[in-house]
Amino acid sequence: MNGQLDIVQPGIGTTVQDAGRAGHRHHGLPVSGWLDAPLAQAANALLGNAGGAAVLELRGMGTVLRVARGPVRVALAGRIAATVLRGDGSRAPLPAWQTTTLREGDTLQPGPAEDGCAYLAVSGGLALPPAFGSRSSYWRAGLSGVLGRAFVPGDRLPCGTRTDTDPREWRCRAPWAADEGPVRVMLGPQDDHFPAPALAAFFAQTWLATPAQDRMGLRLQGEPIAHTSASAADIVSDGVTPGVIQVPANGQPIVLLADGQTVGGYPKIATVITADLPRLAYLRPGTPVRFQAVTAAEAHAALHAQRTRWQGWLAGREAFLPPGTVDETALYGANLISGMLSTHPEDDRP
């Protein structure tokens, strides 16, 4: 029997996400999907899930989940911690960066996503019915079920088939963290709508993220960027993509995110490279951000360097035996000589 999590409290900022639904933009349907792909994939990788398994994206607080059918093995990734309220009334902390097996009747209360984005993955992935090839929530298109609206108490989140019945849990040696430094962009496609001093000012200054933000996009605040002329502040709408930086007539940039529309009518000064898209998830109100222009070759290299670093992170995944678990393998391996079970997590088999 597959596991199932039920929504006790929807909280705010929690959505179902996977890699998104590319292929439908000509219908006006945004691509959606997780904001921080490597982090979401880290949560999945801890559990041994396929890379595209659907997870919960946690960007706010207050979500409470109950294990309606168990066991369910879960993993948190990001700057976040959770509490488990056991069926017997006891409480236990559930830290990020390791797997934990929850039992039927357990209640999971993730704390706030401290820096703006974290993920909760379940073994086998969330098995909600996909819409247009993806399980990512997109409420504006009225996709069916919980993908098409905000959570309500009682919503059921079925889990996929758990293949791993090993009693050992998994953890990693260090958290995965996004790159640092300026957010890298490629110029254009409408960088020619801005005079050279305006382009220089765009890259020279530190922008502040404003509270005007959601999964569609976010507004930045700073010294206004001038267009070459008043009429250059509007274009005939053309294609846009997550990471694109639009500058309307007021000179204050708007960065589109995963749920951003498919076309837009403001000139686009630059576009964030794929490797740095995850970092946009952390631009909470008041967060400073700077931009740096790179070439297509540098963008490509950055993406591959990130993958290499991520694989290095994953190589630090190790199994451990949670306290109180009967490790049958170790038991038989030890020929019952000691008669004692180690509860020290030291197994590091891959």
């Binding site: 219908h27 006006g28 349907l29 504006r140 298109a141 069916s144 962009v185 274009i235 053309d238 993509t241």
Partner: protein, 247 residues
């Protein structure tokens, strides 16, 4: 103008055929979209393409930055863009019902006043026009349609409405559109259609209209609007509204 190849980050190219909204540029956009769709079937260079998005005067091609060679793909797109400019119309012709009931047309009187036209004259101009879907966007299934007579050219509202009812038929500048969803919006609302423009249950073609389609409006009274809305809710197929259909 010669097509311009513009990078949209490291995962999309935009091929631009002009700066303004005009039918000739859009015809070249649709021609290129067709050639890319055909090339995509067997050209390994095109295998990385995920989305082909036509707009008024440019075509955006999204691709997977992990697979393929972005620069080579860009050269391939540019070559296809240079190949030809004629395009034969491949879109469908629709006849869509619109109801001009006062409840549905809060801006009709103001448009009459702005243009010094009678209510009947405004409606006849709208019904007499053939609209062409230039692109979908803003919302899933939202069609931007050109072909509005110049005599109906009106600016957007000075202050957008917080709530435009779903299925409102609206005009602004030289465009006509339909709001598939309730949303904020600043276009002038002239009527309402019972037609559902985005149906997530239709997995292959959730948006009713596609870039390149042609739309003519057919006036219906409130009773007919409500009857069609009920029939659509019961599963009346979209083909009912194709030109030569039953309407």
């Amino acid at each position: 103008m010669n097509p311009r190849l513009l990078p949209l980050g490291d995962s999309a190219w935009t091929v631009e055929f002009g700066h303004a909204i005009d039918a000739a540029a859009n015809a070249r956009v649709m021609g290129l979209a067709g050639r890319i769709a055909a090339a995509r079937k067997d050209d390994p260079l095109m295998a990385a393409i995920t989305d082909i998005v036509p707009t008024f005067r440019s075509l955006t091609v999204h691709f997977d930055p992990w697979s393929g060679d972005a620069a080579a793909l860009g050269r391939g797109l540019q070559a296809l863009a240079m190949e030809g400019s004629e395009v034969t119309a491949t879109g469908r012709q629709w006849q869509l019902p619109v109801c001009f009931d006062d409840d549905f047309a809060p801006d009709l009187a103001r448009v009459c006043e702005l243009k010094q036209l009678t209510r009947t004259a405004v409606i006849d101009l709208l019904l007499g026009a053939t609209f062409r879907v230039y692109m979908l966007g803003f919302q899933p299934g939202f069609p931007y349609m050109g072909g509005l007579p110049a005599s109906l050219n009106v600016p957007r509202l000075a202050s957008p409405r917080q709530k435009v009812p779903a299925q409102s038929v609206a005009i602004a500048l030289d465009m006509c559109a339909v709001y598939p969803w309730e949303s904020p919006g600043g276009w002038n609302l002239l009527g309402r259609t019972p037609v559902v423009l985005f149906d997530p249950r239709q997995d292959e073609q959730p948006a009713m209209l596609a870039a390149g389609d042609e739309v003519r409006w057919v006036a219906v009274d409130r009773a007919e609007h409500d009857r069609l809305a009920a029939e659509i809710a019961r599963g009346l197929p979209r083909s009912h509204f194709l030109d030569g259909g039953a309407l």
